[in-house]
Structures are given as structure tokens and as C-alpha cells.
Amino acid sequence: MHAGDENFEVYLKQFRPRAPEALPAVTGARKTRRALALGAWAAAILLMAALVAANWSVKPTTSNRSLHPLTIGAANELLERAPSVKAAMDELVRDSQEKSVPKSQSAFEALSEETVNP
């Protein structure tokens, strides 16, 4: 390399490359991101569980519907709404024994099969 090249190289070396941006605290940032992700997952799971539990407790089922007590008021309302006494009785039995009573069986037949404990 001749003298001109060496001088030019010295001149070029007087320029200093710019420093890169500061190194981010990668490890700390990654740990924080991981913790946030875990927290988000836990919150999502808890929320889902709460929603399922709330839905389950509110949703009426055949079994808990049959536990509703028959009051005089409810019976009167049923009799007013139904076209006949037989129809009212049929509806009452259908509500309480929806699964076990065949459609062809009348309410009186179904009631006669029930055992009444003294």
C-alpha cells in the first residue's frame, strides 16, 4: 500500500462510527412479559370459571323445576289459564314429572301411581 493510501486511511479513521442505541434490558423485559402473559392467562381462566359457575347456578333444570312448591296462588293461576280442570292437572303433572310420564298417560293415571308417604 503506498503512502497516499496510508494517508487516506488515516483520514478515514478520523471518522468515528456512531454508537448503536443503548442495549435494552432484555432479560428483565422478557421476565416481565412472561409474568404478564401468565397473569393474563390466569385471569382469563378465572373469568371463564366464574362465568360457567354463574351460568350453571342460574340455568333451570328439570330436577330443580320439579322442586318448586305448588301454592294456592299458583294453582288458581293455572286453573284460570287452562281451558279445563283436566288440562290444568295435566300441565301440573307434566311440569313435575316431565321425563317419567309418557305423553299418552293422563294426569289422573300418573297421580294414581304415586305413593304418598303418611
Binding site: M1, G4, D5, N7, F8, E9, V10, Y11, L12, K13, Q14, F15, R16, P17, R18, A19, P20, E21, L23, P24, V26, T27, R30
Partner: protein, 166 residues
């Protein structure tokens, strides 16, 4: 070896600027070069250097591989960044920096890489040859051509004296 955070930070302070300039010489722009260099050091902060013997050569190889992988992944020709300075202009005229940057950008990538590694990264011809996987003779000829083109592009005469211009 260098495995704790403060030692990696020290390496970043010492080699970061030259590594970044080398990455810029490869990519042609600062942003993806910065990403490549930071990616290397972020990994080093997590895993350490292990049993690396020649740390400097290792860092340059990592940066080169990161840039090449990124280029393959993105399958794109990066547009050269016109505006961001590559060199500090604190003690120099900004127009000189611009002139040098333009001259470097005008070089073919392989010549630009060689001249950057030789002048600003302080690697020998043998180290550059090993890094770029080319012969030392190829390094020498690329370097000679690159200097000629830079001098011409910057309007510097051959009997130029560095002290007078510094």
C-alpha cells in the same frame, strides 16, 4: 468466560459502533443493522459466551450470519437509507460525513464490507478473509479498489495529507 451482564455490556460499548457499521455496510441501512446487532447481544445476555476463544471474530461472524439470515428471511432488497448518519459529526463538518457516506454507499457491497472491516473495525486482511470466507488476495484487491473509488468520490487527491485535512 464473558458470561455476566456487565461484561457483555462492556463488549457492546467497545465493539458496538464498529459492529453496527459493519452491519450497515452489509444491509445498506441503519435500522435493520441495529436490529441485527442488538439481537446478537440480547442472546449473549441470556446465554453468555460459553467457551468462545476469539470474542471479536465471534461477534463479527454472529453479526454477519444474523444479517444474512435476515436477508434470506425477508427476501427483499433493502433500500439504502439516505438520511441517517453513519458516523459521528461532533468534531467534523457534517458535509464531510455526508460525502463519505455517499461514497461508501456507492461502493459495491463486497468492497464496502472490506473497507469498513479494515478501516473502522480494525481487522487484518487475514481476519477479514476468514470472516468473509474469501482469500486474502481478494481482500487486498477489494480494499485497493474501494480506497481508489472512495478517494475519487470524495474528491481527495492522491498526494493527500491526512493531518492537513483532519
Amino acid at each position: 468466560m464473558h458470561s455476566n451482564g456487565s461484561e457483555i455490556e462492556e463488549l457492546y460499548q467497545r465493539h458496538g459502533p464498529a459492529l453496527l457499521l459493519f452491519a450497515i455496510a452489509m444491509t445498506g441501512e441503519r435500522s435493520s443493522a441495529q436490529d441485527a446487532v442488538q439481537q446478537i447481544f440480547a442472546r449473549l445476555l441470556e446465554r453468555g459466551l460459553g467457551d468462545v476463544v476469539d470474542v471479536k471474530a465471534y461477534l463479527y461472524r454472529c453479526v454477519r450470519n444474523a444479517v444474512l439470515n435476515e436477508a434470506k428471511a425477508q427476501l427483499r432488497n433493502v433500500a439504502l437509507d439516505e438520511d441517517t448518519p453513519w458516523f459521528d459529526v461532533l468534531n467534523r463538518d457534517a458535509s464531510e460525513e455526508l460525502s463519505l457516506r455517499r461514497a461508501l454507499r456507492a461502493l459495491p457491497s463486497e468492497q464496502r464490507q472490506v473497507v469498513v472491516l479494515r478501516v473502522w473495525c480494525g481487522l487484518t486482511h487475514a481476519e477479514i478473509a476468514a470472516l468473509l470466507e474469501i482469500s486474502a488476495n481478494t481482500v487486498a484487491s477489494r480494499y485497493r479498489y474501494a480506497l481508489e473509488k472512495l478517494r475519487e468520490a470524495m474528491g481527495v487527491r492522491e498526494d493527500f495529507c491526512a493531518d492537513a485535512c483532519g
